[in-house]
Symmetry: C2
């Protein structure tokens, strides 16, 4: 058992930040949180104490949408829109993951960088390669990254180097699910790349597999106008993009849908009704000129919204930066609407990057008791005038002014991993 001390900042709801100036976290032998308090109870006063002084103790980050095999492309080739960008840069890079040595090297770097930047929970796309996906999970688990990883399914509109037959895709998905049983803190998730990449037959089978094995689903939705047109051509029987998932039982509670830039009001309603989760990826959306997702509108409509880096459409794994880009995206909308209420606050961005993702994994928010600790320690004390600021102000400033070098400790599953 042990005690951690510092300035604790907890996102209890979208608009409720709870702060503990010089507060205490008490962990049991397994790293489960047994007490969070402003003063330390007598019974814990003899436990070993890690005192982080005036540094901030924040919830660790949840990156709810990112593509592991695109890791080497971060910050490169952002001069094309979605479909051309996929064919020119993304598919050739993902194809390389067939080589397991190559895959292990880049996934080892990725896992280390995620922890270094304070991300301990992910919902991640791998490539279509089952064995490379298992390698990815090994590297993530080794470093302390937890969550869901999907072997990607794509049996059409890929490339000669990056496509499976429908049969291969199904067989390999079943093999993936079986092999993934060996991981403790990572689970498989059904991952049709997006509607244009999957035949109806494959979609139908994936819906059945998700149902049989009780697995969650992640994919992409309404990211780009040309993509939406393409889906219409592929599914002339359907009115809207989301129905191409719903038709095959892939549109259900906790299905993760990345982007939702151009979702209509009826698509938003369908998300809310089915309890589908939107993953807002503001960096990617601007980098590949997709558009700006109206996040305040989603929140007002009661849709569950989370954040994703979406590398390598996104240019950074830093959820600190992704939060500031989500705020900037909301301001971009507010400039047009002239409605100040469209602006996301720093507190709201923090909630979206932490608690809103956390709910996906444990149905809880903040620093829940009886759960293994996920937290980061962020030292902003070298910045000027720290002493005159409230903890809430320091949080806002930290989003803009700090980076991985300020993250001096990371806890995942109750264990110190940085």
């Amino acid at each position: 058992m042990k005690v951690i001390k510092g300035n604790i900042i907890e996102a209890q709801s979208l608009n409720t930040l709870k702060t503990y100036k010089n507060g205490y976290l008490v962990l049991d032998e397994e790293g489960k949180l047994i007490c969070l308090s402003q003063t330390l109870d007598k019974e814990y006063q003899n436990l070993p104490l890690t005192d982080y002084g005036d540094a901030l103790i924040l919830q660790s980050f949840c990156d709810m949408h990112l593509h592991a095999p695109q890791y080497p492309n971060i910050g490169l080739g952002m001069d094309l829109e979605l479909i051309d960008w996929l064919n020119t840069y993304t598919f050739p890079t993902e194809a390389k993951c067939k080589d397991l040595n190559y895959a292990r090297n880049i996934y080892s770097h990725l896992a280390k960088e995620l922890i270094n930047k304070g991300t301990t929970r992910v919902c991640m796309f791998s490539s279509l390669h089952t064995d490379a996906t298992l390698v990815l999970m090994e590297e993530l688990e080794k470093e302390g990254v937890t969550g869901y990883v999907g072997k990607v399914n794509m049996d059409r509109n890929g490339s000669s180097e990056l496509e499976e037959t429908t049969k291969e895709s199904i067989t390999e998905t079943l093999r993936f699910i079986k092999e993934a049983e060996r991981f403790k803190t990572l689970k498989p998730i059904i991952t049709p790349r997006f509607t244009p990449s999957c035949t109806n037959s494959l979609m139908e089978n994936l819906g059945k597999i998700a149902n049989s094995y009780n697995l969650l689903v992640q994919s992409h939705l309404s990211e780009n106008l040309k993509e939406i047109e393409w889906v219409k051509e592929l599914h002339p029987d359907l009115d809207e993009y989301w129905q191409s998932y719903a038709k095959y039982n892939l549109w259900k509670e906790k299905t993760l849908m990345a982007h939702c830039v151009y979702s209509s009001d009826s698509e938003i309603k369908a998300m809310k009704e089915a309890k589908v989760v939107a993953v807002h990826c503001p960096d990617s959306n601007i980098n590949i000129c997709s558009g700006t997702a109206p996040i305040r509108h989603f929140l007002n409509e009661g849709v569950w919204v989370t954040l994703g880096s979406d590398i390598a459409g996104g240019s950074t794994l830093s959820m600190l930066k992704v939060m500031t880009l989500a705020i900037r995206a909301s301001k971009n909308i507010a400039i047009t609407t002239k409605d100040k209420s469209d602006v996301l606050t720093a507190e709201e961005a923090y909630y979206l990057a932490t608690s809103s993702g956390e709910r996906y994994f444990n149905d809880k928010v903040g620093f829940p008791l009886n759960e293994k600790l996920h937290a980061i320690v962020l030292d902003d004390t070298a910045l000027v005038e720290t002493e005159r600021l409230t903890l809430s102000q320091r949080l806002e400033r930290a989003l803009y002014r700090t980076n991985e070098n300020n993250i001096i400790a990371v806890y995942s599953e109750g264990r110190k991993v940085k």
Copy 2:
């Protein structure tokens, strides 16, 4: 004399990047560049060599618009638009600079952070306080930051704590010009805050002072719609904002105008004809919900465009980040216009952050011969797959993937300052 070796990347024009893989820079005793070449001439082969290996040698950055006294506010209070933001956050913070001990402390931090982030040339606003402005210049010169600094003029629409009389403003400006003679690498610049802050009488006098002392001018232009309306109310005789500067001889060659978000075609034409320089501040423009400046349009019209961090409307001093935000701002416009040519490339952003500002100081671009070296050494070699990328690709990636910790050396005025 000495030799510096590395991968040199020079922005020769908006669209011409010249690269030297394992190239050489030869400096004379004063730090002036006497040779830039792919191979080292025999005559220099016995000089002491600093070999930066596979790191990138870039031009150092020019930050052409920032407010020194707002330094403590970076990353804070970005929930208001311009006029309210000035009154609520900015003016009270600037007023504190009356206290010279306070000013020296924050300016010392600012100067160190600029060098740490690779900015060696600035055009900077101080506060209205002459002595604090001289303290600022001392701290900048000590660290190696060069360029122009202005004592701000504001004799109306400030606050009880932050306003001068017209007479004080003129007298103090003259004292400032005289006292600033003692600096070697920093010069004074005439700095009316913006039209709403300066009476006509003050503007008239500033125009005369700029003319008598042959000084350059910096101010703000067409940042925000309410500001533009306000200027119209204050100058009912004028059709456009820029004329409120032109009327008093402050609109002339090399006058720096920050923002220009809402400049009309006739204002843009007036800029081009007078050779006024636009300072694009993309971070500030989105943070305080001003709007998005149409930079491609400015460039197409032949206006001289530079970049500024504009702290503390801007949230970062990092010109690496400001470049990526300029690219994102241009994509924001391209999403609306559906015109891909509106997108700024990474190479163009690098030109705007380096050579385009450098011209302001020495009428040259790139790494000019017979000028004291301004350069940074950026080590991106720890990122994956560096060896497979061209230097141009590594430059693009560096904008997104590196920060001050990758900047392992900075040269200013021929001297190593980091």
